[in-house]
Every structure is written in C-alpha cells, then in structure tokens.
C-alpha cells in the first residue's frame, strides 16, 4: 500500500517534510485540542452537510481532518496536465455525440451505448452551446496506487460539488495555523471563485451585449449542498436563485426582483437535468422553471452545465475516455483509467460474476457511494444479492478491481494513523481551461475502509500543492 507521507522504509517523502516536522513538534494531544476548535469554527460558520430524512442531526458536519494532504510541485504538474486533457476530451465528446457522432461512426464507442443511454438527451441534438462547452466544471475523482500512478476513478461532468470544502478547509487551516503557511510555499486557491465567474461570463449567449447577468440556481436550503451554493454565489457576487425566482416570458428568462422582472443570461445550475424544466423533462417535478429548456435551445440563456452533459460521465462511457483523448486530441492519456469490466458485455460479465468477492461493483448511473458492492468487505448475502441484480439488469453495472487507495496520516480516535484518501480537482472550462492548484481530498475515516463519500461517513482534508 502506498502512503502519501512515508515510504515503505519509513522515510518521510519530500513533499511531507514540513508536515512531519509540524506533527512531531505539535504532538498528538495538542492537535486533538485544535481539532475540537476547528469543529466549533465549522459549526459557527454554518458549513454543514444537510442529510434530511435520515433521523439524527439534520445539519451534520463533515469530519474535517487537520493534517493536510500534500502534492509536490512536479506531482501536481502531471496531475494538472492530465486533468485538463481529460476535461477537453470530455467536452469534445459531448459536442460530437450531440452533432455528427464521429466517434460512433468510427466504431470506437458503440452507438447503442450512447443513443440508448438514459443520460443521452435527444433534445440536445444539434444545439450549439456557446464555446461548444457542455461541462463547465469537471470534477475528476482520482486515486493513487503508487508513487508514480494516478488513476481516474470517475468523471463528474454535471454539477460536481465539494469545491466549497476545498476553499473553507484552507480558510480554517489558515485561521488556525498561520505559521504553517508562513513557512511553507503552498499555492493559493483563492482565485477559484473569480475564475469560475470568468468562465461563466465567457459562455454568455452571443446575443448578450455588455456584462451578462449570471445567477446560481439552487434547489433550495434543503439540498445537501446548499451551503456550497450560497457560498459560491456570495464569492462570485451573483444572485442565488431558486426555481420560483425565475420565469420564462417570450422565450427569455427573467428573475423576479423588487423592481420587477430582470433579464438572466447565464445560469450556473446546481439542479439535475430532470428538475430544471417541468415542460421539457419531469412533469411531476415541483422544482423547475417552465419553458427554461426551450429558452436555452433558442440560445437566449446559457445553462452551465448543459443539459445532457451526463452522457460523458456515465460509468459505462467512462471505459472509453482514453480512446476519446486519442480520437479528439491525438494525444496519449496522461492519467490512466482504472481497469473496468462492463457487465453489458457477456464475456466481461462472466468474469465479474466469477470474481465478485474480489471486485468493486458499481451501478452505471449511481453516485455518492450508494448501491455499491465492495467484494472483499461484503458478506456472502450481499454478494449473492448483487449477483441477482447483475443478472437481472447487466447493462446497469460495471466492476473494477479493489484498488489499494493510497493512505495519508489522519488524526483518528486514538492515534495518528494512515487512512485511505482520494482526490477531486475542479477543472473550469470556458473559452479557456483553468485549474486551481488544489482540490478536495476525501478521507475514509474508518480503518481499512475504502469508501470516502461524505454521505457514507467520509471526511475531508485541506489539500496543498507546493510551489517549486
């Protein structure tokens, strides 16, 4: 198993020198005291993760671990190039499948996998989003298995969340340990909100003259990521709107203000496709703005991300991203994919069924670590149940080997111990591609656990990128 801080011989790896010194100088007891302080800060600022309808505290804190996860400058350079490359290829793929479908004609991606996919939106065919950008914020989930290999676990092309934790974790760390930042050259991540705003400005409808009116569309305070929505709107200085604040009149989108209706040009929406417009999608949706999708198609407003962008992060399509990179960019993929078997394919399915106890099985359309089988940690009963489910609907499942995620030192209940981590950087795609040097490190707080999702008790860490 690869540890971020120590080599197998127990030596401290170069990027972690300062952290190791800080840990031994501070001591575990003192660190524990500061941990409580950090929690109180999070609570007071109101950074909670809402989990309604599950009993218990409706405004839960995501466990925050004080010990940062560190990338050296050269590690980051490679990661950064890989993430940007992926974001470009995914957007090129989206443009292609909603236009001529070259990659399908070339026989690289099976047509049926796209056209019969729930995430494919036929209504988007022929629509030209400004700058040909579909996914404006690409969150790439990356794991590390050894000192040289980063692998992409999955892509998030719709509305990836977690960037507020990236910003707030840093804020809390800087408030609590200013001396750490004074003595270490850590790349700043402050620019993210203004870069996001610039990205959104760049994709305003061509007909929009002057400063575009940008809004952030949230489902409302009950949404688990609501804090993030309000936080980003605040930092960008744009209105945080709920569907009820918007309406469509004469093919244009307006928001209700104290001065009457005001025109809206760009919507950074944090609502799923299915809920943006009851006329176009789910008629039973209580959310949504009637007529929004037709306004979008007519080009009077830009939606970020574009409806239908989910086809690019579908887990069945994921297998083909290295091919996309070669096909559209003529480059070799910098980041590897995790070996993946598609249960839709009879041969691969047989392999999966024969090896369930060693594999991780995921639902193609699922997210958040729900409905996932981790073979080595599963009971016989769970494995049997997944076997039935796979046989009943093979197209809905993929399987991957159980990866030994890298671990990083974490303040645990009775010691500082290694816990598994993953990493999600947030790549911005407008007329330019921008990537803030940092991201969200998630950590599985339970010993040995590989599930880092916050909905499953995972925690977060500040992520450092050291400058040269």
């Amino acid at each position: 198993m690869f540890d971020e801080m120590r080599t197998q011989e127990g030596a401290v790896r170069a990027p972690y020198q300062a952290i190791a010194e800080w840990l031994s100088a501070t001591g575990e007891a003192a660190l524990r005291g500061r941990q409580a302080e950090a929690e109180a800060l999070f609570r007071r600022i109101g950074i909670t993760f809402a989990v309604y309808g599950e009993g218990g505290d409706p405004e839960r804190l995501i466990p925050f671990d004080l010990i940062p996860r560190v990338f050296g400058a050269s590690e980051w350079r490679r990661l950064s190039r890989g993430v940007r490359q992926r974001a470009r290829a995914l957007n090129a793929f989206l443009y292609d499948v909603y236009h001529r479908g070259e990659i399908l004609k070339a026989g690289i991606v099976p047509e049926a996998l796209v056209y019969q996919n729930e995430a494919f939106l036929p209504a988007m065919v022929g629509v030209d989003p400004p700058g040909r950008v579909y996914s404006h914020v690409v969150g790439v989930d990356i794991v590390r298995t050894d000192s040289t290999h980063f692998q992409v676990l999955e892509d998030n092309c719709r509305t990836p969340s977690g960037v507020s934790y990236m910003l707030e974790n840093r804020e809390i760390m800087m408030r609590m340990f200013p001396q750490l930042f004074a003595t270490n050259a850590v790349e700043s991540i402050d620019e993210y909100p203004s870069q996001l705003k610039r990205t959104l400005q760049e994709v305003a409808p061509p007909a929009c003259k002057g400063e575009p009116n940008i809004v952030l569309l949230t489902p409302g305070p009950l949404n688990s990521a609501y804090y993030e929505h309000s936080f980003l709107a605040d930092l960008m200085g744009v209105e945080l709107v709920e569907p009820g604040d918007l309406f469509v009149d004469e093919g244009k989108v307006w928001m209700r203000t104290t001065r009457g209706p005001q025109r809206v040009d760009v919507i950074y929406r944090r609502i799923d496709d299915a809920y943006i417009d009851p006329l176009a999608f789910r008629a039973d949706s209580l959310l949504g703005v009637a007529g929004l999708f037709s306004a979008y198609r007519a080009g009077t407003v830009t939606l970020c991300s574009a409806p239908g962008a989910g086809i690019a992060d579908d887990k069945a399509i994921y297998v083909f991203t290295p091919e996309m990179i070669r096909f559209y960019l003529g480059e070799e993929p910098i980041l590897k994919n995790v070996l993946t078997w598609r249960c839709a394919d009879a041969g691969e399915r047989d392999h999966v069924l024969a090896n369930l106890k060693d594999l991780v099985v995921k639902r193609v359309h699922g997210s958040g670590g729900y409905g996932m089988l981790i073979g080595p940690h599963a009971s016989k009963k769970e494995i049997a149940s997944f076997r039935q489910q796979i046989l009943a609907a093979p197209d809905d499942f993929i399987a991957q080997p159980t990866l030994e995620l890298s671990s990083a030192p974490t303040l645990c209940a009775d010691s500082i111990d290694a816990r598994h981590v993953d990493f999600r950087p947030f790549c911005l795609v407008g007329r330019e591609i921008r990537l803030t040097p940092g991201g969200l490190t998630r950590v599985a707080m339970r010993k040995g656990s590989l599930v880092v999702n916050s909905s499953q008790g995972g925690g977060v860490k500040d992520t450092w990128v050291l400058s040269d």
Binding site: R44, Y226, S230, E242, D245, R256, T257
Partner: protein, 307 residues
C-alpha cells in the same frame, strides 16, 4: 434585489424583533408576579403577546403554561424559539444577502435553544430571556456595522420597525385601561406598578425617567410611548423611521407606492396630535386604529416590492 430576498430580510427583521419583544414581555410578567397581590399579570402578558389570548381566557391556566407558550412552544410561531429558528431559516435562505457576522450572530448557540427543554428553561428563565435579547442585539449590531446600505438593509430595518411599533401598540391596547384617568383617582401603589410595568415591557424605565424626571403619570406614559420623537420604541419614532426608510426605497427605485402614503399620513397624524386630544378622542380607539394601519402598511410594502 430578488423579491424573495427582500421578503426574507423583511421577515427576518420582524422575527428577531418579535423574539426580543416577547422576552421583554415575559420579563415584565415575572416582575409583576413578584409583587404582593399580583395574580392576573400573566394573563395580560398572554394577551399582549398576540399569540396566547386563548390561554389568557382560560381560568385554570398556570404561569408556566404561558411562559412555555411564549418561550419554547414549537406550535406557536411567535414563541422565542420559533422566531429565532425562523429568522435563522430565513437567513439560511438568503445567506448571500447577509454578512458572515450577521449569520454567525444567529447561528451561534442556535443549537442550544433547539435542544432546550421546558423545565430547564423555566429553571433558568432570566438567563434565557437575556440570551434572546443578546441574540437580537448581536444581530442588529452585526447588521449595523457590516451590511451594505442597499435595499436589503432597508427591508431588514422596515421589518424590525413594523414589528416594533406593532408590539408597542399591542401592549397599549391590552394595558390602556390602567392608563385611563379614572385609575388615577384610585391611585395607590398597585397602579404605580402597573404603569411602570408597561414601561418595563418596552425597556423604557430609564428613558422615561430622563425625560419626565421620574414623575409617573398615565398621561406621561401614554405620551412617551405614542408621541415621543426620541424614544426608539414609541409609535411616533418608529413611524418617522419607517417613513424615512420608505423614502430611501422611493429614491432608489424612483417610484412611490401606496405604502409611502400610508406611512406619511400616519406620521402627520402623530405629529399633529397632543396627548390631551388623544385621551379626549379615545386612547383605545387610537391604538386600535394604529394597529390596523400598521397591518395594512405591511401588506402594502410587500405588494409594492413584489413579495
């Protein structure tokens, strides 16, 4: 500004003001029951609160029931707990329109109140009443020193002022009889306490003292709470401020609405009245009319600004 944001700020102002006013009312009740011969004081507290008149008319009611209703009752939207929770929910829905200082002033210790049970609260009543007042003060202070002076600020202040003037008028509506001239004839210690209780419920004891040199008369008290131009809880002062805030909105939007006229008329009326005339034409009628006008004004404001 989004209409929903304006609405949220307006109501946030109202809820916080109401929580504070309710805390004062309970405090007045506590003080009055410490006096010899006091028995019905909790009933007038219940009535003045505007959310417990059913309890006021219930012959078997105990002080605890009324205190619980006003302080913690989750079923009573005007209880201090509900007001603060509601203000916090409003704040959460318009986080971007608040400064972090304002949000933290509401969020801090909110969970304490959420989990407080009735017995604990009664045992430490003064602490909780102070706590509610401190929350309100901290929030107002944070708004005063950190919020941009745009229309959001004006809506927040308007909500506070409307709630405040309504509370003063409602208190007078319940207590007007102790201020009527005939009680002056009866005289005696009891009336003195009744009058001062009204002042206490509006945090006006010291202020009154400064203006009237400690000379408690029903006229003086009624005049102070209705007509004073300098006491921040008097009807006149509140309406002067409402008029000023609405004027700011008119200047920002370049447009006047019926609410501007209503507020202007009320200011003119208060400026033209002296306490003699007010008692002659009927204190109770005047106060009742004031409450109706204030309710109408609140509706007119929301209509004018699309919320």
């Amino acid at each position: 500004m989004l209409s929903r944001t304006a609405q949220n700020l307006f109501w946030m102002g109202r809820y916080i003001e109401r929580a504070e006013a309710t805390a004062r009312l309970i405090e007045m009740g506590r003080r009055m029951t410490m006096l010899p011969g006091a028995n019905d004081e909790w009933r007038s507290v219940a009535r003045a609160s505007g959310c417990a008149s059913d309890l006021a008319d219930d012959p078997g009611i105990a002080a605890q029931d009324i205190i619980f209703r006003l302080l913690l009752d989750p079923e009573n939207p005007s209880s201090i707990r509900c007001c603060i929770s509601q203000a916090r929910a409003n704040a959460k829905a318009v986080r971007t329109a608040l400064t972090s200082d304002m949000w933290e002033s509401l969020n801090d210790q909110w969970r304490l109140l959420e989990t407080l049970d009735g017995d604990e609260a009664l045992a430490d009543l003064p602490i909780w009443l102070d706590w509610a007042k401190q929350r309100a003060a901290a929030f107002r202070g944070a708004a005063e020193t950190s919020l941009l002076r745009n229309e959001g600020y004006v809506f927040l202040r308007l909500g506070e002022l409307i709630e405040r003037v309504e509370m003063t008028l409602r208190l007078l509506d319940v207590k007007y009889y102790v201020l009527l001239p005939e009680t002056d004839v009866v005289g005696g210690g009891r009336d003195f306490h009744q009058w001062t209780a009204v002042l206490r419920a509006t945090s006006a004891m010291r202020a009154y003292h400064h203006v009237y040199r400690g000379d408690y008369t029903p006229w003086g008290i009624a005049e102070f709470l209705i007509l004073s131009r300098i006491f921040p809880r008097s009807a006149h002062y509140c309406y002067l401020q409402i008029d000023r805030r609405l004027g700011e909105l008119a200047a920002m939007h370049g447009q006047r609405f019926p609410c501007h006229r209503t507020a202007g008329d009320m200011v003119a009326r208060l400026a033209d009245t002296d306490i003699q005339a007010l008692f002659q034409s009927g204190l109770h009628e005047f106060v009742g009319d004031g409450i109706r006008v204030t309710n109408r004004l609140s509706t007119e404001i929301s209509r004018a600004y699309h919320f």
